[in-house]
Symmetry: C2
Subunit: 418 residues, 2 copies
């Protein structure tokens, strides 16, 4: 890098961090900051050794970074949901300890030695695999988002929950290791009239969903590892189904059986639930694909601007069940002006993308929105555009644009603008 280039990069923060009189905690000359002169306790005493924690945990100063549930939302926590703290995360990987949970009968604590996966129905050979058997098939590594169909569902009628953790936190993004489902189905031999599969969970809810054979033979995985290690119990340990781009309840956890049939099963979770009720009382069914969506995670109600005006990092996440994210647009003024955000980090198919918009905040109120465009050209709609088509009965598949109002004091709230 030449000296000229270096000079041109200088003073990035001049207008804000250095000269900004309103700064709460900007950098200063070393002699002016008392904290730098203090000898901190961690600098003059020995800390814990390498034998202290065989499996590490976050800093105690990060105890506020946690999954959160909402008590009034469901009758019982064993059939409920908690939410990923999106506003505390960065990059594209959701740490395993913070991946949101949705159970229908609590977490099954499965003994891997007693784990079995049965393949039955319209197959040439009904088979039962142990976990070790599954690990003998060629495996692959793929990152995918999992989003609950009900993510943002409480916003249809304008619930305006106060934070992206609650409005958008029923999502996580994980690098899975597993065996393509088509490999396992091929081992059993799908008969020519085998047109659907019914994956079934080993938990007390025996969760089931019907999936067309085309999807099963396309990109589904029988996964046993997430982000490098064994699946977590609440994510289906030891084996879950991965159904890329499709709603989360189809990703059967604690997978114990896959039946092959010639018709869908019309089970509980695809009739009484996970259907989209329209104003006329009819319901859309089998709405599997998750449409393109995005949300600004910072600033947001749980992550206000604390530093005053000047250089500000706006960031968020975007994803599509139909491919990659091509562009994310952000507005600071409720849609009058749109700016292209910078997408940084991996751009994987059906996986969360991270975007940034670095701007100088003038200290005036903001109306923040983000709008994702996926690789098919689909543009994320407004909530009102969705309501015009589907009414307000819906719980599922709300991928509308989210608005945060940032006040002059940096605090943010969930608002709707027409």
């Amino acid at each position: 890098m030449t000296e000229t280039t270096r000079t041109s990069r200088r003073h990035f923060l001049k207008g804000g961090l250095i000269a900004g009189g309103a700064m709460a905690a900007g950098p200063v000359l070393a002699s002016g900051d008392p904290a730098i002169l203090e000898v901190q306790p961690w600098a003059n005493q020995l800390g814990e050794g390498v034998d202290a924690r065989p499996y590490g945990v976050p800093s105690p100063f990060e105890n506020h970074v946690r999954r959160r549930n909402v008590e009034w939302l469901t009758a019982d926590p064993v059939s409920s949901v908690n939410f990923t703290p999106l506003h505390e995360l960065d990059g594209v990987i959701t740490p395993n300890g913070l991946c949101f949970e949705r159970h229908h009968g609590g977490i099954a604590e499965v003994d891997p030695a007693k784990y079995r996966l049965m393949i039955n129905g319209l197959v040439d050979r009904e088979l039962v695999f142990t976990l070790d058997d599954l690990k003998r098939f060629p495996r692959v590594n793929r990152a995918y988002f999992l989003e609950c169909a009900a993510n943002s569902g409480m916003e249809w009628r304008g619930a305006q929950l106060n934070g992206c953790q609650f409005t958008h936190g029923m999502i996580h993004n994980v690098l899975y290791t597993g065996v393509p489902l088509r490999t396992i189905l091929a081992e059993a031999g799908v008969k020519t009239n085998g047109k659907w599969i019914l994956p079934e969970g080993a938990d007390a809810a025996a969760m089931t969903r019907s999936i067309p054979i085309e999807k099963a033979l396309d990109d589904c995985l029988v996964a046993f590892a997430m982000n490098g290690e064994a699946l977590r119990p609440e994510q289906g340990y030891p084996v879950r189904l991965v159904v890329p781009g499709w709603e989360g309840n189809m990703w059967i956890k604690w997978l114990r059986r896959i039946e092959v049939g010639d018709m869908p099963w019309h089970h509980r979770e695809e009739t009484s639930k996970y259907t989209d009720l329209f104003a006329d009382g009819k319901a859309r069914r089998f709405t599997w694909e998750m449409d393109a969506k995005s949300v600004i995670t910072n600033p947001s109600p749980q992550a206000p601007i604390l530093h005053g005006k000047g250089p500000t990092v706006l960031t968020g996440v975007a994803w599509s069940g139909r491919g990659t994210i091509k562009e994310v647009h952000v507005t600071l003024d409720g849609g009058r002006n749109w700016h292209q955000a910078r997408i940084d980090g991996p751009s994987w198919d059906k996986s969360i993308h991270r975007f940034y918009f670095d701007f100088e905040w003038d200290g005036r109120p903001l109306l923040l929105q983000s709008r994702a465009v996926d690789s098919t050209g689909y543009v994320q709609p407004t909530k009102n555009e969705l309501r015009a088509v589907r009414g307000e009965n819906s719980i599922y598949h709300n991928n509308g644009i989210q608005t945060w109002h940032v006040r002059a004091n940096g605090e943010a709230e969930n608002v709707e603008i027409s």
Copy 2:
């Protein structure tokens, strides 16, 4: 997918899982496996709810998956190392709880509110940043391996530690979020005679290393997040330096100061340690880059073949401090025949790559080796090739080919072959 294709994919495991008489636990017809007929306790009782674990942990059945230290290796665990359980992992991301640790004065437990980063020395403006200040610069997301220079060091004289966790486990691979170091140096303004930097840690060891300005302005990061969440305490919370491709001790943790100078500092950790002692008593210094390297993680001494002959997944990891991995070759017979391994998952610059070789084991003993070729064309050498050049005094930079001997019973051991 056509029926023809499906049929051709069938019977992958025919010779092994189905027909293999020697199988310990192959799949069978459903009616033949008693375990499938038992109702397991997790299938008829409710599990923990979504309020049970705000931050999740692995299954109790995975308690053996842990970092391990070696008591005899160092005088005290506060200046020691533990090892990543490579044989228990898959994919390319090391989970944060399992990233190996190396401390020189124990884990500094830094209060982020009192965290400061000073930039001083040959700069136009000496600056002090708070953590919040650092988060106002434009940030990026990049995955890099961190390998201790001493990884595999005990193998120079043939220690033959019994497992890849101990021979190769001083490595982890993480997706970092942070600010390019050049952005921060530009803010301070590096003077024209500023040719080196000295990053310094806030721990009791005040770890320091000299780094040439060219590297500092190239790809180094001032990182505050790993795999999506805040850095872990043992990895430098709240801020560490990332020095891609270079030996791990330079990635200063608990980063509190960066001094800019016109010469290297010749500090303790680049004179008495982290130098390569030759047979004639002279030492190589400033050997920063980590050469291309690989290891088979499964099968290996800690991960024997338990399933008998038939379809077998061989897997391992490869990396280079100079770029990506282009090819990995594996041999089953001590180098007589080499096979191209399948690299699967992300191929990032200076980042761990995952490779597989799926083969039919005939049950006879194996001599397993892997050999990485990086994007510069460099080929991983044998241990004896390294010894011929550097003698046996070395502790650091052993990237030689590793051999595992697998016996007919599936057990594996660390061996050397000439």
